[in-house]
């Protein structure tokens, strides 16, 4: 199964509640997949700054002094804000590539969950309520976000196998379904020099979108071509710096419900995930069509 939730706020007054609303939605979806959970939150970007959300299984040791060591490597200020096994590194935007390369060099045990100016991804093995509490997601504000709770089918239950997957700067993907051609596609993408770290099928889909966009496609075009190149079942929700999108495979057996009001656009694997949203009784509620790319932007 797997459960997906997404929330795109139109009403700025709701932004301080984004984390708590998404957390509530995701916890409702716990019984669709209790293996691992993750949330991507798009907060306010700080002009000229870029962020890496990183994770380590030995966080205390790996994060100790990491900001200072990175700062001296890149010759620019770096701050580190730790949340449990994750930390957000903040540094000048023009040093983004350098910082990531330096991180790999000096802290090989630290894994990058997300990179970009506004995105932060937090994900771990465990129930949505526990994962959300570890990272205090409820207190986070933002303009939009995506959450996922996983029932693993195609690869191991690990932090790296949890969703969302970061596809490019400020972009992420979550998936309900399973892909059947991910092994051949992984080989092809590796030959193209795309970085893939696990045996997970969704990571291949994320890498595919990254590759398509590297080749010049827009996210919308990359999603359109995924309908041709990806074989299997999928409902995808993707996040970008200023919006989110939804696409389902042509068979569309993986569930999806959307709701829209003047205040927000919301996605849930089931209607249950949406019932606590403000004004849901008056919302336009519908099921997204198969093989159709939907997109909302600020």
């Amino acid at each position: 199964m797997c459960g997906i939730v997404g929330l795109f706020l139109k009403d700025k007054a709701l932004e301080p509640q984004l984390g708590s609303m998404l957390t509530d939605m995701l916890i409702t979806m716990t019984d669709r997949g209790p293996d691992s959970a993750g949330i991507a939150i798009y907060g306010a970007a700080q002009s000229g700054h870029s962020k890496l959300t990183v994770q380590s299984d030995a966080a205390a040791k790996d994060f100790d002094g990491l900001a200072d060591r990175l700062a001296s490597e890149i010759g620019a200020p770096v701050t580190l804000t730790r949340k449990d096994t994750h930390a957000v590194l903040d540094f000048p935007a023009d040093k983004a590539a350098e910082t990531r390369a330096a991180l790999e060099r000096i802290a090989p045990g630290v894994r990058v969950m997300s990179a970009g100016e506004s995105i932060e991804i937090y994900k771990e093995v465990g129930l949505p309520k526990d994962v959300a509490a570890r990272f205090d997601i409820s207190s986070m504000s933002g303009s939009h976000g995506i959450g996922h709770t996983r029932m693993a089918t195609e690869s191991a239950v690990t932090t790296m196998g949890a969703h969302p997957f970061n596809t490019g700067a400020d972009q992420c993907l979550v998936h309900n379904g399973s892909l059947s051609n991910h092994n051949s596609l992984r080989r092809k993408l590796l030959r193209e020099g795309v970085r893939i770290e696990t045996q997970n099928d969704t990571e291949v889909a994320a890498a595919y979108l990254t590759w398509k966009m590297r080749e010049g496609a827009t996210l919308g075009e990359a999603l359109e071509s995924s309908l041709v190149d990806l074989d299997g079942f999928f409902t995808f929700v993707v996040g970008t710096e200023d919006g989110f999108g939804v696409v389902r495979d042509p068979i569309a057996c993986k569930p999806a419900v959307m709701a829209e009001t003047d205040q927000y656009v919301a996605f849930g694997s089931e209607y249950r995930a949406l019932v606590n949203l403000p004004g849901i009784e008056e919302a336009r509620v519908w099921e997204p069509e198969p093989a159709t790319v939907y997109f909302w932007k600020h």
Partner: protein, 225 residues
């Protein structure tokens, strides 16, 4: 009239209570409040009672229904009225995938749209949809009637047996072995009755009838063992 608060009393209690109603019960009308998209609301009923669900439901609402009338005052999740035997299920809003799947009898009325696989493997149920239906609807449908006042999606009636399909609007594509058929007076009569039962504002003459061409492997006696 009885009122049942699903959020307060729970699903097992609701279904146990409704399933315990006998044919000669005096408690014939029930309101279920706070459904909040819960799964399996009002399933396995077997008494001539009327259940009003005041909101939207999740998976498998009114499954295996016999005799009862279940009225959803909202939208229904996947598998509404699955395997219905008799009775009536009414959905005021939309219905998700495989509405009325494998139904043996009774009437399912959807006032909004139904999504993919509506009436898949239907075996005698009558399904009346005021809006549109999605792809692969009436796949392997064996008997009963599917009425669509709007449009039908891809692959309507694929591998159909003897079910009758009536569509007023467009059909995106027909499935394997499904063809348009002549609308004879007896079909207009059947359809007029269905439209009246479904409360549809439509005339039988506006519809086209689709059915099986009976050309697939399973229709050839030479293939019988």
């Amino acid at each position: 009239m009885q009122t049942f608060d699903l959020a307060a009393e729970g699903l097992r209690s609701l279904n146990a209570t409704l399933q315990a109603q006998a044919a000669e019960t005096n408690q014939t009308s029930w309101d279920v409040v706070n459904p909040r998209g819960s799964h399996a609301i009002a399933v396995g009923l077997d008494a001539p009672i009327e259940v009003h669900v005041k909101g939207s439901t999740g998976y498998y609402c009114a499954g295996m229904n016999k005799q009862a009338t279940v009225h959803v005052h909202g939208s229904a999740g996947p598998g509404v009225a699955e395997n219905m035997m008799s009775g009536t299920v009414i959905v005021e809003g939309d219905a998700s995938q495989y509405a009325g799947a494998t139904g043996n009898g009774g009437t399912l009325i959807i006032k909004g749209n139904a999504s993919s696989r509506c009436g898949i493997s239907m075996k005698g149920i009558d399904i009346i949809v005021h809006g549109n239906i999605g792809h692969m609807s009436a796949f392997m449908a064996q008997s009963g009637n599917l009425v669509v006042c709007g449009n039908a999606g891809d692959a309507l009636g694929d591998s159909l047996y003897e079910a009758r399909l009536f569509v007023r609007g467009s059909v995106k594509s027909l499935g394997a072995d499904c063809i348009e058929k002549e609308m004879r007076p007896e079909h207009l009569e059947i359809l007029a009755d269905l439209l009246e039962r479904g409360g549809c504002d439509a005339r039988p003459e506006e519809f086209k009838r689709y059915g099986s061409a009976r050309q697939l492997y399973n229709f050839k006696p030479d293939n019988a063992y």
